[in-house]
């Protein structure tokens, strides 16, 4: 009886630690040795509590508790497995309309195509295609399980650029240092300290006009705080700052424009539609099946213990027949 409450406390801590992998997927702590050791110690404690309980040393109710603790042990094993054996968290960001092979999970990720409206509304999606399986479509805000992996989307600041020369001719946009060479969509993954604050930065090239463009993304709050000289209609909108260079890397102009507005800089006309586009987060999590089985066993064991305890309490209160 005396070990029931400590064992239940340990079980609840164990469940919290493992379920945390599902609630906050991708946190680096789940792949550290400290986390694994903590779970292993908890697992050892659970074994020491569960062993006498399953032997029924404290009655049938304790046997039910032992079964429940065995269930928690399954959850702990799943937690250790995902932390220790599961792959490290991966964040994959690619331009809209591209395909990324993911050989580790036997799939290919299809990043949905996006026009300026999709970027502005942040509605980009990612589909995971596996041979002989139906596609797994992950939309913003949702998550999907694939074995011991959780797949979800994280929004990245993004801009869809349009560029044309002085004659109004459309210009090719390339990203020689980006993950996708031929993309007018720039995903802001890097940050740089500007005027004491970290801002998203990126860049692209306009080979047809022999220009390279550095871009800084300022969100609406930055614009308000830093009093940028933007038109009144830009209030409450994010803006981009363009810094253009010629083929000899000489600066040829700096300009700033809010989302959806054109600006002429360095002999070219530029327009950015600002918003977000998702990156795919693949995080190792405890296999949902193992967690469900373990939790099921724990709840059943706990319920069984309570029922049996209640029954034995009633039996203890039944008065002995007279004359016995």
């Amino acid at each position: 009886m005396s070990s029931r409450f400590p064992s239940l406390a340990v079980a609840l801590v164990a469940l919290a630690l493992v379920v945390a992998q599902i609630v906050i997927p991708g946190a680096a702590i789940f792949h550290t040795w400290q986390y694994t050791v903590a779970l292993a110690v908890i697992g050892y404690l659970l074994v020491t509590y569960a062993t006498p309980a399953l032997r029924g040393q404290e009655g049938a109710a304790s046997r039910m508790l032992g079964a429940g603790l065995a269930g928690v042990l399954i959850v702990v094993a799943a937690g250790i497995a995902s932390g220790l054996l599961g792959p490290d968290t991966e964040r994959i960001s690619r331009a809209p309309g591209t395909i990324v092979p993911l050989p580790d999970i036997g799939a290919a990720a299809f990043f949905s195509n996006a026009d300026p409206q999709t970027i502005a509304s942040g509605d980009g999606m990612v589909s995971l295609r596996r041979r002989n399986h139906t596609d797994i479509v992950i939309s913003p805000g949702s998550h999907k399980f694939l074995g011991g992996l959780m797949l979800m989307l994280e929004p990245l600041p993004a801009a869809y650029f349009d560029a044309s020369d002085a004659g109004g001719n459309h210009l090719t946009i390339t990203q020689q240092t980006g993950s996708t060479f031929l993309s007018p969509v720039l995903l802001f993954k890097d940050r740089q300290s500007i005027a004491g604050e970290m801002q998203f930065v990126g860049g692209f090239e306009l080979p047809g006009a022999k220009r390279s463009v550095k871009v800084v993304y300022f969100d609406a709050e930055d614009v308000r705080r830093q009093h940028f000289p933007v038109p009144a209609e830009a209030a409450g909108k994010p803006v981009v700052l363009y810094d253009l260079f010629d083929s000899s890397d000489k600066s040829v102009g700096i300009g700033m424009a809010p989302s959806g507005a054109e600006v002429r800089v360095g002999g070219v006309l530029l327009k950015a539609t600002l918003g977000t586009y998702p990156q795919l987060l693949i995080a190792s999590v405890p296999a949902p099946i193992a967690v469900l089985i373990g939790l099921g066993l724990f709840v059943t064991g706990l319920a069984g213990m309570v029922v049996l305890q209640a029954q034995s309490g009633k039996e203890a209160r039944v008065p002995r027949p007279r004359g016995a």
């Binding site: 697992g43 074994v47 569960a50 062993t51 399953l54 032997r55 032992g66 065995a70 042990l73 399954i74 094993a77 799943a78 250790i80 497995a81 995902s82 054996l85 599961g86 331009a95 809209p96 309309g97 591209t98 395909i99 092979p101 993911l102 050989p103 999970i105 036997g106 799939a107 290919a108 195509n113 026009d115 295609r129 596996r130 041979r131 002989n132 399986h133 694939l146 074995g147 011991g148 992996l149 044309s164 109004g168 001719n169 459309h170 210009l171 090719t172 946009i173 996708t180 060479f181 031929l182 993309s183 007018p184 080979p207 047809g208 296999a287 099946i289 193992a290």
Partner: protein
């Protein structure tokens, strides 16, 4: 002791099950760039021809199509176009289509350039650069050979000679 052994066995079984459960079958080819797309269905987007009519790769189903992604500012693309024109004229009667898809430029720019070089194969203008992204172009030019069923035979990064083009398309035309 027996209970401990059962519990230990349970843990091992769960660990092994997780390991097997994670390793699905491999459905994506390895590598990067256009080469990784061999065998995949060819992506198609409706864009405009030089004359403004809508057109797409899918409209050429049943033909062997050599898709060539190019731009007028790209020197190797400009060098490659005469060989593409020769290839088209030589194999058109056998069911080959050379489909030039300009990446990111205006029809007027691409059209003026094509007229200067006497290009007769179909030219599309993809100002949103959708084909370039879908075919994982790592530079220009990029060539993609698509078979009669609409599947990618091979994706090639960089300029090709006429001899290389002929070697590429000949098996698909048989």
């Amino acid at each position: 002791m027996r209970v401990l052994l059962i519990l230990a066995a349970l843990v091992v079984v769960v660990l092994l099950a997780l390991r097997f459960y994670q390793g699905g079958d491999v459905g994506a080819p390895p590598g990067a760039g256009p080469a990784m797309l061999a065998g995949a269905p060819a992506a198609s987007f409706t864009v405009k021809r030089l004359n403004g009519d809508a057109d797409s790769l899918a409209d050429y189903r049943g033909k062997v199509v050599l898709v060539n992604l190019w731009a007028t500012w790209c020197p190797p693309c400009r060098e490659e176009i005469p060989a593409l024109e020769t290839l088209y004229r030589r194999y058109q009667s056998k069911g080959l289509i050379v489909l030039g898809i300009d990446q990111g430029e205006s029809a007027s720019v691409a059209g003026a350039f094509a007229r200067k070089l006497g290009v007769t194969f179909p030219l599309l203008v993809d100002d949103a650069q959708q084909y370039g992204r879908a075919y994982a172009a790592q530079g220009l030019p990029t060539s993609i050979l698509v078979d009669r069923s609409g599947h990618i035979v091979k994706g090639i990064d960089g300029q090709l000679t006429l001899a290389q083009m002929q070697e590429l398309v000949a098996p698909a035309l048989k």
